[in-house]
C-alpha cells in the first residue's frame, strides 16, 4: 500500500495562475498612476446640484476652487450649521476671498491671469446670500470667469 496515490493520467493539467500577480500588478500600477488624490480636504457638505446645459471645464486654463456649504457633520458641533466658505483647506470669511484670489494669481504666469476660472462648488442646500457676497468680491477683483460646478442630470426634476 503506497502512502500517496499515484495521480491518474489523462486529466487536464491545471491552468497555471503564476502570471496572475503580474497582470494584477499591471492594473494596480495603472490605477495608481491615473489616480489623482484630492487636493482639498473637504470640510463642508458638498452635494452638487445637477444641470444639463453643462460644459466641460477647460483644464488648460488655471482653475481655483471655492467651496461653499454647511460644515461637515464632524465639524458641526464646533462651527454650527450656517453656510461656510472653504478656501484651500480652511474655513474663510467673505473678506478673505480677496486675499485668496491674490495668492492664486500670484502663483500664475502673467498671461494666464485673465484666464483664471473660479469654479464654485456649492452645496445644493446653500442659500444664495453667501454666494452673492462671493460673487460681488469676484466682480470687484475682476475675476469674471466663473463656473458653477454641477453634476450632469435633470435640473428641474429635483426641485
Amino acid at each position: 500500500m503506497s502512502k500517496f496515490k499515484k495521480k491518474s493520467d489523462g486529466g487536464l493539467p491545471p491552468i497555471s495562475t503564476a502570471s496572475l500577480p503580474d497582470i494584477v500588478f499591471m492594473l494596480l500600477f495603472f490605477f495608481m498612476v491615473a489616480t489623482v488624490i484630492k487636493e482639498d480636504n473637504l470640510m463642508v457638505e458638498n452635494k452638487l446640484p445637477s444641470a444639463d446645459q453643462i460644459e466641460k471645464l477647460d483644464k488648460k486654463n488655471p482653475i481655483s476652487y471655492i467651496y461653499i456649504g454647511k460644515p461637515s457633520r464632524n465639524y458641526q458641533s464646533k462651527f454650527g450649521t450656517a453656510d461656510r466658505i472653504q478656501l484651500n483647506d480652511k474655513y474663510a470669511q467673505v473678506e478673505q476671498v480677496k486675499a485668496f484670489l491674490s495668492t492664486e494669481r500670484a502663483a500664475l504666469r502673467e498671461e494666464l491671469i485673465p484666464r483664471l476660472t473660479i469654479a464654485m462648488k456649492v452645496d445644493s442646500d446653500a442659500n444664495m446670500g453667501i454666494i452673492s457676497d462671493v460673487k460681488q468680491v469676484l466682480r470687484e477683483e475682476n475675476a469674471l470667469k466663473i463656473n458653477y460646478t454641477t453634476r450632469k442630470g435633470d435640473a428641474v426634476a429635483k426641485n
Binding site: E55, M128, G129
Partner: protein
C-alpha cells in the same frame, strides 16, 4: 550539520495582496472631469456718469425667485407666477417673439409677434433677481433653464444656417472647446459660432439680490 537550502517563500498570496491594493485604488479613483455652467460676471460698475440706456419694458423678461423658491415673472404686460418646468418654454417664447417692426423687425424669429413682448433677439433681455434665502439648487435650475432656452434657439439657427455640418450649436461649441479638435476644424467653427452668438446674444443679467 548539513547546510539546508533556504525554503522557498510562498508567493501564492501575492495575487491576493495585489488584488486588495487594486480594489483600493479602483474605489478611490475619481476620473470624472469637472463640468458645470460657465458664466461670466459683469465687470464692476464704475460710478456712472451717463445714465443707463432706456430699455423698453416689453423687451425685458423680469424673473424673480423668492425665498420660498417660487418663480415670478413680469413680461409682455403681464405678471404671473410660473413653474420651473414651464420656464424654458416661456423664455423661448419671449426670446423668439419677434414683435419688432421696421428696423427692429426680426427675420429669424418664429414667435407670435406679440407687440407687447420682445422686438428681436438682440433687444430681448432676461433679467434675474433672487432673494438671499433662495436655495442654490433652485438658482442653478433657473440658470440651467435660461441657458437651455438660449441653446435651443441657437441650435435652431445653427442648423438652419449650416445644415450640412450635421451638428447643432451646442455640439459645435463643445468641439470647438475640445483640445483634441484639429486646429483647422477649429478655425472653421470659430466664425460660424461667432455669427450665431452675435445673432442670438446671451443678454442675461443678474440683479443684486434683495436684502431682507
Amino acid at each position: 550539520m548539513a547546510k539546508r537550502a533556504a525554503p522557498e517563500v510562498n508567493a501564492g498570496s501575492m495575487a491576493d495582496i495585489a488584488f486588495l491594493l487594486l480594489i483600493f485604488f479602483l474605489v478611490t479613483t475619481d476620473i470624472a472631469v469637472d463640468s458645470g455652467l460657465n458664466r461670466k460676471l459683469p465687470p464692476k460698475q464704475e460710478d456712472l456718469e451717463e445714465k443707463p440706456p432706456i430699455i423698453k419694458e416689453r423687451n425685458i423678461f423680469q424673473l424673480n425667485v423668492n425665498k420660498n423658491n417660487s418663480l415670478f415673472v413680469k413680461t409682455g404686460g403681464e405678471e404671473k407666477t410660473i413653474k420651473l418646468t414651464d420656464l424654458r418654454k416661456e423664455a423661448v417664447a419671449f426670446l423668439d417673439n419677434g414683435g419688432g417692426i421696421g428696423d427692429d423687425a426680426c427675420k429669424q424669429c418664429k414667435g407670435k409677434k406679440n407687440s407687447k413682448s420682445s422686438d428681436n433677439f438682440q433687444k430681448a433681455i432676461i433679467s434675474l433677481q433672487n432673494d438671499r434665502l433662495t436655495k442654490y439648487s433652485t438658482y442653478i435650475a433657473v440658470q440651467n433653464e435660461i441657458l437651455a432656452a438660449y441653446n435651443e434657439l441657437r441650435d435652431r439657427e445653427f442648423k438652419r444656417m449650416y445644415p450640412n455640418l450635421g451638428v447643432n450649436f451646442v455640439q459645435a461649441n463643445a468641439a470647438y472647446n475640445d483640445p483634441g479638435t484639429e486646429p483647422e476644424d477649429k478655425a472653421k467653427l470659430k466664425d460660424k459660432l461667432r455669427i450665431i452668438k452675435d445673432l442670438i446674444p446671451q443678454k442675461f443679467s443678474e440683479a443684486e439680490p434683495k436684502k431682507n
